[in-house]
């Protein structure tokens, strides 16, 4: 029996990396797990994939290993085709060039609206204030499809957001996004977690369970959510992380372990895909 141990964030990064397509353009949140997912894809199966980051680097080719703190550093902007600023790259999304936006969030609701502002209390008296949406609104409104990354936990998948920082399908009614000025035919596409993946049903725009890791059951997934999602007729099986992916993350992409070493640890049997601990 061979075992593989990884964190929830690592699983998430690996899943997204496996979804990256070389013939698409990506608009990526500046740091953290979303950027790591694209970098893992670039390092493995999609070396030529183009992406932009908020601060204006267009299609960079980072040098690995990245520094411990890679926030906008020269190593992550290296060998771009262009260096602009925020207004220019945001306009590239407004023009429809960005196929996918990649974002993380604190809380998400059944229509893919999400929170990155505060948790608990009220807006004026927040229990825990966070950094704010950053570039999430411009990315989630203007890229054709948004990939959201978060952890499968009841406090993340909530009936009601503490604060709607950024829009998903709003109340789910047809044309809701357009009524608030957002471009047509855009919106959240998938919500990816360490154990399950969701899409949004076409008519009701409600979140729908479409895939799970081999070690969980539908019941377990639903128990980790504060609301009940729709469930697809056929639930696909997600591919767990591979040894190769994890080695690249740990040695090249996040060598300091700043992002990936926190969170819940999983050990699985690689043959059966079952969780051992």
């Amino acid at each position: 029996m061979s075992e593989l141990t990884f964190t929830d964030v690592e699983a998430n990064v690996c899943t997204i990396a496996g979804m990256i397509e070389e013939d698409k353009l990506y608009f990526v949140q500046m740091a953290g797990a979303p950027l790591m997912a694209v970098l893992l894809a670039k390092h493995t199966r999609a070396p030529d994939v183009g992406y932009v980051v908020e601060e204006g680097a267009v299609a960079p080719n980072p040098s690995f290993p990245l520094p411990r703190m890679m926030l906008g550093a020269s190593k992550s902007h290296r060998r771009a085709v262009a260096w602009y600023g925020m207004n220019i790259v945001d306009s590239h999304a407004a023009l429809g060039f960005m196929d996918y936006g990649l974002l993380a969030c604190l809380q998400v609701d059944r229509f893919g609206n999400f929170n990155s502002t505060f948790i608990g209390g009220t807006y004026e008296q927040p229990e825990r204030r966070f950094g704010g949406p950053g570039g999430a609104n411009e990315i989630a409104a203007q890229c054709w499809r948004t990939l959201l990354m978060t952890k499968l936990q009841p406090r993340k998948f909530v009936k009601e957001l503490d604060f709607m920082s950024s829009a998903g399908y709003l109340d789910g009614t047809p044309g809701a996004r357009e009524r608030f000025g957002m471009p047509a035919n855009t919106g959240p596409y998938r919500v990816v977690t360490q154990e399950a993946m969701f899409d949004f049903e076409e008519e009701t725009r409600q979140m729908r369970l479409i895939a799970m890791m081999p070690w969980v059951t539908e019941e377990e997934v639903l128990s980790k959510m504060d609301f009940e999602p729709l469930v697809a007729d056929k639930i696909e099986t997600m591919q767990p992380p591979t040894e190769e992916q994890l080695a690249i993350i740990r040695s090249q992409i996040d060598p300091g372990g700043l992002t990936v070493s926190r969170g819940e640890w999983y050990t699985i049997d690689t043959e059966t895909g079952k969780r051992l601990s």
């Binding site: 908020e54 926030l71 906008g72 902007h77 950053g134 609104n137 989630a140 203007q142 950024s166 809701a176």
Partner: protein
């Protein structure tokens, strides 16, 4: 034009004509030497109650030496644009310099949480892009610009944006008011004595911020000749007439990196993070800001030549900046 919804967030009413009048009255048109010490620049150009904008952050090419001087001079009641910032806002809040923050993204922690709960600091919600776009509106001399995001969210409600019916397409659009800061701080790689500044690498909005601000302070790693500026005019990011002060500040981005020149001092960041977590930011400021008279003295006494050399060596990428 019908306004369908408005946010309740506080903003300064945009005043492009007021800005034009200020420019006509106050901005220097001649090529004059604007070099001065950080102490003079901040004393002359940053007033209590000012709206303060800066490009980048304490991690990368932020105007860190000027921010420390603002704290050293105990400026008060500033309204800060925190777009794409890191611990910059926390540092200014620790120094007691801030009363309002326009939020795009900032690192938060104990300090900001407590200041917000106590009501010492008021937050107004925007996004990184919305704030950069408000600078763009300012830099174009118009009172607002339309854009296709923000409305429908709680962020919109806590901002000063408006949702309108577009008179051309009859669809709906979000409007944001132009931002005209009182003072801008931009850390540049190179600048001449008149203020012709070169910023290299991706930036948030150095041009838009400089253009939309009444007073502009450039801190620069290197003072270069105007002859060099005129030999490569395409490399000029900000021309001289926008600029009021040029401060020569090698390692001015410290503890952050200035791309192409030196890497960030990660240990210093951890020192600040630890101080914040333990509620000891007063001690941190005493050591790094109040305990020294200037940026130069801080580098000399607290950082040291050996460390600075290490940081230069750690920045291995020069391609695109100097090559």
């Amino acid at each position: 034009m019908e306004v369908i919804a408005s946010g309740i967030g506080e903003f300064r009413p945009p005043d492009p004509d007021g800005f034009r009048a200020y420019v006509r009255e106050h901005k220097e048109r001649r090529l004059v030497d604007k070099t001065m010490s950080e102490q003079d620049a901040v004393a002359k150009l940053v007033a209590d109650g000012d709206y303060l904008a800066f490009d980048q952050n304490v991690a990368v090419r932020g105007p860190a030496s000027l921010l420390r001087e603002i704290i050293r001079q105990r400026k008060k009641d500033l309204w800060v644009a925190a777009k794409f910032t890191w611990t910059d806002a926390s540092l200014l809040v620790a120094g007691g310099c801030v009363s309002k923050i326009d939020v795009g993204w900032m690192a938060t922690g104990r300090l900001i949480n407590e200041a917000v709960r106590k009501g010492d600091v008021k937050l107004i919600e925007w996004t990184n892009g919305a704030l950069a776009y408000r600078h763009l509106a300012g830099s174009l001399g118009v009172p607002f610009l339309p854009m296709r995001y923000l409305a429908g969210t709680d962020t919109f409600t806590q901002s000063g944006a408006k949702l309108i019916e577009d008179p051309y397409t009859h669809g709906r659009l979000c409007l944001v008011p132009a931002l005209f800061p009182d003072v801008a701080l931009i850390h540049a790689h190179q600048c001449d004595i008149y203020g012709n500044a070169r910023v290299m690498g991706a930036g948030v909005a150095p041009q838009e911020i400089a253009m939309s601000s009444r007073k502009v302070i450039i801190s620069t790693e290197e003072i270069i000749s105007t002859e060099e500026i005129r030999r490569h005019p395409q490399r000029t990011t900000i021309p001289y007439y926008f600029v009021d002060a040029v401060v020569h500040a090698p390692f001015g981005g410290y503890p952050g990196s200035t791309p192409g020149l030196y890497a960030a001092d990660v240990e210093h960041w951890l020192e600040f993070a630890a101080a914040e977590m333990q509620g000891k930011t007063d001690e941190y400021l005493q050591k790094w800001v109040f305990g020294v008279a200037s940026h130069e003295e801080m580098l000399d006494k607290l950082v040291g030549a050996k460390k600075l050399l290490q940081l230069q060596k750690a920045e291995t990428v020069r391609e695109g900046y100097y090559e």
